[in-house]
């Protein structure tokens, strides 16, 4: 087991390296010239800065300098466009908290609700509860998340005034973990969780249905277990197998997909930073952001794979 984990970690680092190289090459290879100043004198000055930062050196040399900085000084570069002269690492870390918080809250809300609804729908298959839940789920899964965001904002803030429109700033709420901040995050959490609840519910329902129709369920009923007992002891455990990975991957998914939500609710988070860095060609921040997403994705992958091994003894990785 340990050997397996070690092997996976080494492979992860290797993957990370390949991804970094790919992203770096792709973004630096974009045709990009130093920005124009409003007069020749200014343009001259900008060219000199550009030169001084090494953007004119050949691609491989730039890459070498970049890697060296990471390993020797843990310096992921400086942001030049989004936040002048601020180290990219500092910039990213400062933006992590809101994104993680909002996603976490959304997950905490959606997991129990989603699974519960899914189980309910699977058990009462083809009865009115199933139809109702399935219809609602269909509806929530198919409408893009930003439309929810708009609707939620419009009705709950503009018409009814129950919640504030955007999340509070630190000075208004007094900190990230206060009750006021939580209150102001209600709208984005709600907007994010609709899709998650629907996805989880549908998935749970599908898996549980499949489990409920398998042979061992028939055997269990034949043996005399009650429906509920058979479901909880046998079907549920089997159905939960693919759900855990789904939860983890949906966490990653939310991290990546909350770009739109972040811009609508003015959440100063990682997603917004990402889009800005692409639009403004802030290379170092973009690279660091990509590394961050990649790393989380890979870690999630490892955790999922290992957990598969724990949960389902039938599946042993790497075997024929």
């Amino acid at each position: 087991m340990i050997k397996y984990i070690l092997k996976r970690l080494i492979l992860m680092l290797f993957t990370l390296f390949v991804v970094i190289t790919l992203c770096f090459m792709l973004i630096r290879a974009l045709p990009s010239s130093p920005p124009e100043g409003s007069s020749l004198a200014q343009s001259q000055m900008i060219l000199e800065r550009w030169e001084a930062l090494g953007y004119n050196k050949p691609l491989l040399v730039q890459f070498g300098i970049y890697l060296k900085n990471i390993f020797t000084r843990f310096d992921f570069g400086t942001s030049w466009k989004i936040s002048k002269t601020q180290p990219a690492l500092e910039l990213l870390v400062g933006r992590l908290t809101p994104t993680v918080l909002v996603n976490l809250y959304a997950l905490l809300l959606s997991i129990p609700v989603g699974i519960a609804l899914g189980i309910l729908a699977a058990i009462k298959k083809n009865k009115w509860q199933d139809h109702l839940i399935s219809t609602l789920v269909m509806f929530f899964v198919s409408v893009p998340s930003y439309i929810y965001a708009f609707l939620v904002q419009y009705f709950l803030f503009f018409k009814l005034g129950w919640f504030p429109q955007t999340i509070y700033s630190l000075s208004d709420a007094g900190g990230w973990f206060t009750g006021k901040m939580l209150y102001s995050m209600a709208l984005p959490v709600l907007a994010l969780s609709f899709g998650q609840i629907a996805g989880l519910c549908r998935f749970t329902r599908a898996e549980l249905t499949e489990a409920l129709t398998s042979d061992y369920m028939l055997l269990a009923r034949a043996k005399g277990l009650t429906r509920a007992h058979a479901t909880t002891r046998h079907a549920l455990k089997n159905a939960m197998v693919p759900i855990l990975p789904m939860i983890i991957s949906s966490f990653i998914g939310i991290l990546g997909g909350s770009l739109v939500i972040e811009s609508i609710f003015s959440i100063p988070g990682v997603g917004q930073l990402y889009v800005q860095s692409v639009q403004q060609r802030d290379y170092d921040v973009f690279m660091l952001n990509s590394i961050f997403y990649t790393l989380t994705g890979l870690l999630a992958g490892i955790v999922v794979d290992i957990s598969y091994g724990f949960i389902d003894p039938r599946i042993k990785m790497g075997e024929r």
Partner: protein, 703 residues
Amino acid sequence: MKKISVRIFSLTLLLCILCPTCLCLTSCSGRGGGEGEYTYHTYSSALGTNWNPHTWEVNADSAILGYVSSPLVDVSIKNSTDGVYTWVFEMAESVTDVTEQNKGDLEKYKVTLPEGKALSDITEGYVFEIKLRRSAAWENGEEINADDYIYSMKQLLNPKMKNYRANLFYSEESALAGASDYYFGKTDDFGAVGLYKVDDYTIRYVTQSYIDYNYFLNSCTSPWLVYEDLYEAGKREVGGLTVTNYGTSAETTMSCGPYRLSSIQPAKQAVFEQNPEWYGYEEEDGRLVSYTDFEVDGERVRQYQTTKIIIDVLDEQSAKNAFLRGELSEWTPSADELSTYSSSDRLYKNSETYTMSLFFNTNVNTLKKLDAQSNKNSIVLSSKSFRKALSLCIDRSKYVSATGAFIPEYALLNGLYFYDIYNDPTSSYRASNAAMTEICKLYGVKYGEGETHKTLADAYSSITGYDPSSARALMKQACDELAASGLYRRGEDILIRVGWAKGALSADDNRQISLLNEFLAAAAQGSGFGQITLEAVGNIENRYAAVPAGEYAIGYGAWGGAAFYPFRSLQVYMDPDQYSINEAGCYDPKTDKLTLDVNGERVTKTWQEWSGSLTGSGMYSSADADTRLSILAQLEGAFLETYYRIPLCSSTTCVMLSYQCDNYTEKYNVMYGFGGIRLLRYNYDDKDWASYIKRQGNTLSYE
């Protein structure tokens, strides 16, 4: 069993989430202040990140800088009914021209004399003495004196820092003598730069070239003062440059203005509160109030009534919702919303100086190369008749109907330019006879006896830039010319890619291009040309450089700014030493000559010389306003005649103000706007405003 327990679990969780919510609902108070406090809520799509006066780059940065700094000199209202402005001395107590008494400085700092003048002729315009206000202080109480100014300028021009804003002081009209050499490292003696201290509260400023007193005061409205300790503490080396993090966060900012930065959360919110150390405040009933030093409409009025300013980062839709619920004090409706709010009482319209135009690369070889790659027969652009036909076939009023808030333009400098603003506030360039004559000449509109238009003004107001029959005739002529010279074969289709925008193309852009294609199709009928199509390309990093570099044959962009000093504005089209010119391959402004009429004399110079002759050390820089006006108008007309650049439209911005506060005056004045935040008056303090909103049912209506 499990189902029920899961159900209970989820219900409990929901409850846990709702409980703090309810607690918060009760404990939450509004975001504004209470009685006697006046909070100005505004928003922006991005928060400034660098408001160091030496390096700020975008508008968001300068907005923050404006609140936390006080310039030497400012502009405000003297008489709002007649639109008379006044200079306000803020950090400077007075500014006087002491050239006559300090001629020695002119030699010492090696100033540039105007063409044809000798040292003995100079009596003004080079050496200015600035007396500093003694009560000026930083927000931590330390006093500000001449040493701070000298230090700040030294850092601004520091050759190792290559500051972004240094060019204002080493190359523009108020350039410091000797600054350019110091900045480029040719000398490392700051004593050779023309800014020196006379005593603790007086400094002298020596300019490199002649500058009119009013224009010097205007240059004093840009602050350059920094706080030494924080500036030095924040320095570090990056690459080969020295940078400082001064002015990037609340801890690295030291305010000398009426407000101080009390907190800033990047990409989220910035909060400003009154700076108690600012010299303009006095205590009244336990609050800080301020009255103007100068008279506005005959009396000293209350200024800076705002006690708190909050800038939030919001997107369009959120901003609108917030405004309609009374949470924002101002809002800029997008072009699409304008039609709903056009009759509103609270709408304030400003025009902008940026004139959008099409610019060309007409070099035959470049066009041939482009034809081989991505265009088809763009060689037709080398024909002046074709370009003129293009200009005349565009119905600009229909063109601007495609997007709200644009107005048609027929010339390079639009109605916001003034040629002698400080002496004559009604000296609108566009409305002057000289300028109008040139444009009428350009579009071939005659006036006078026997003509349709009796007066020049009549003739000018009838110009629409749209002449379909001439356009068709010119198209035919162009086709004949091009076919005769073998550059184009009759009947072939033409496809030209236009470098349109930096970002992705929006629906508005698509609409505009469709209209242009429509106009071209109408003009090309019967001319012998095949189908002409313009294709807009977005996502171009720098289209202003791409066109002269030969990547696109046509570009779409704007020049603007410097509304009070148009005499430098034509340099962007004609002076390749100072600016990178967008048009290419057309002519060589350094060698091609042009003859203009100066006070009855015919004078010939190169284009570059003409564009520089009205400013700095040019021949006519100290001539009277009318002469300069006439030269400028002729130069503009001559350039438009070449059709290397075709003006299309300019934009207006509209701002809506909430019922909470009022501008000082409803009459717009190009010098002071509507009075600005200095003279903003409040109808309700925060507490009353909150109850007002409640009374209206929480939603306000502004149409």
